[in-house]
Symmetry: C2
Subunit: 208 residues, 2 copies
């Protein structure tokens, strides 16, 4: 069993780097807080833009689009994994969806109590309901569902300072060697993909 | 529990497509027969050449070489996974190693009782001992360790008919949409990567 952190002890943490356009990030967004809580691990949410990182490899879009055989496989894999995890799945008719505003809002909300629910709702729009996540209307609608002041949150998200922060977070991702999403860090130990979420959390919890 | 196939019933089978140069194939070669036996599943070994498939994507070598950040990650990931599975790991000083003769021998041996042991020994040379697997001497040495007539097996492997069979098997891999290794098929259901070996075997065994 994972130890429950005692008051005053430094919390065991995992950094969760993710993108709303990334289908494997969907699986981790839906699972991570429950799985982390079971192990007494705190999640540090790190939204970033995958597009600039792909472009640094010379890719204009997702490798799942660039490589047709891999792309066909990924949708089959997603259907199976969602069934396994009990998640709703609908293959998005637009892929990858850009979600710059939603990522900026996620940066504003990263340490707020509504972060997990906001991210899950954006992900459900994209991968369970096949709906737009890029528009201001879509993002504000989710914020209102959470009882939040949508106009004020979006205004903060669209401030120059916050826009810059998202660019800087994306540059930090690249500097740390992040080449895809989701990516997990426990200290300097990097774990790639939803397939490594449990290993990363076990490592964070100090399990063998 | 997986049902034990009764005499006369069609065996539950999994196709295992692999390459000796592929590090994630190493993990599956070392694990598959034990894991399949536990579930009453028969393994159909399908050696093929990954090089022509990568070249069809315009890649002259492994994506782990072409993408440095991903490559750096893969070696760390391999070290962790080998520890988890109790396998010896040494990062190969030459990667990816070509192993055309060893793959031709594997094609000769695919339904022979020595197949599993031959493949495990070739994989250990590459990924546990960091030794050449491409030379005739290396392949014959492994065959002799198994008490096999090395000269006769290699002569059969190098026959024009067998060389053609490996090319045809590689073309069949491509026609089925195989884009990497290891790849598993249960009927038409395709599973990619050592990370899906257990799911693929459960599917083959008819488990939920």
């Amino acid at each position: 069993m994972s130890p429950i952190p005692t008051a005053g002890a430094p919390a065991k943490t995992i950094e969760f780097w993710f993108e709303f356009g990334s289908n494997y990030s969907y699986l981790s967004v839906m699972r991570i807080e429950d799985e982390a809580a079971r192990r007494g691990v705190k999640v540090v949410w790190k939204p970033f833009l995958l597009g600039p990182i792909f472009r640094s490899f010379g890719w204009e879009t997702s490798p799942f689009v660039l490589q047709k055989a891999k792309g066909d496989y990924v949708w089959r894999d997603m259907a199976r994994l969602c069934r396994k995890y009990g998640l709703i799945w609908r293959q998005p008719s637009v892929f990858p969806r850009t979600a710059v505003l939603a990522l900026r809002v996620a940066l504003v909300g990263a340490e707020k109590p509504w972060m997990n629910e906001f991210c899950q709702r954006i992900m459900r729009l994209n991968f369970a309901l096949d709906q737009d996540i890029g528009s201001e209307a879509a993002v504000k609608d989710v914020l209102r569902q959470l009882g939040l002041p949508a106009d004020a949150v979006v205004a903060e998200a669209q401030s120059e300072a916050n826009k810059l922060r998202l660019r800087e977070q994306t540059e930090a991702a690249q500097a740390r060697g992040i080449f895809g999403a989701p990516m997990f860090f426990v200290g300097d130990e990097m774990f790639w993909g939803n397939d490594r979420l449990d290993d990363a959390l076990d490592f964070a919890a100090g399990s063998p």
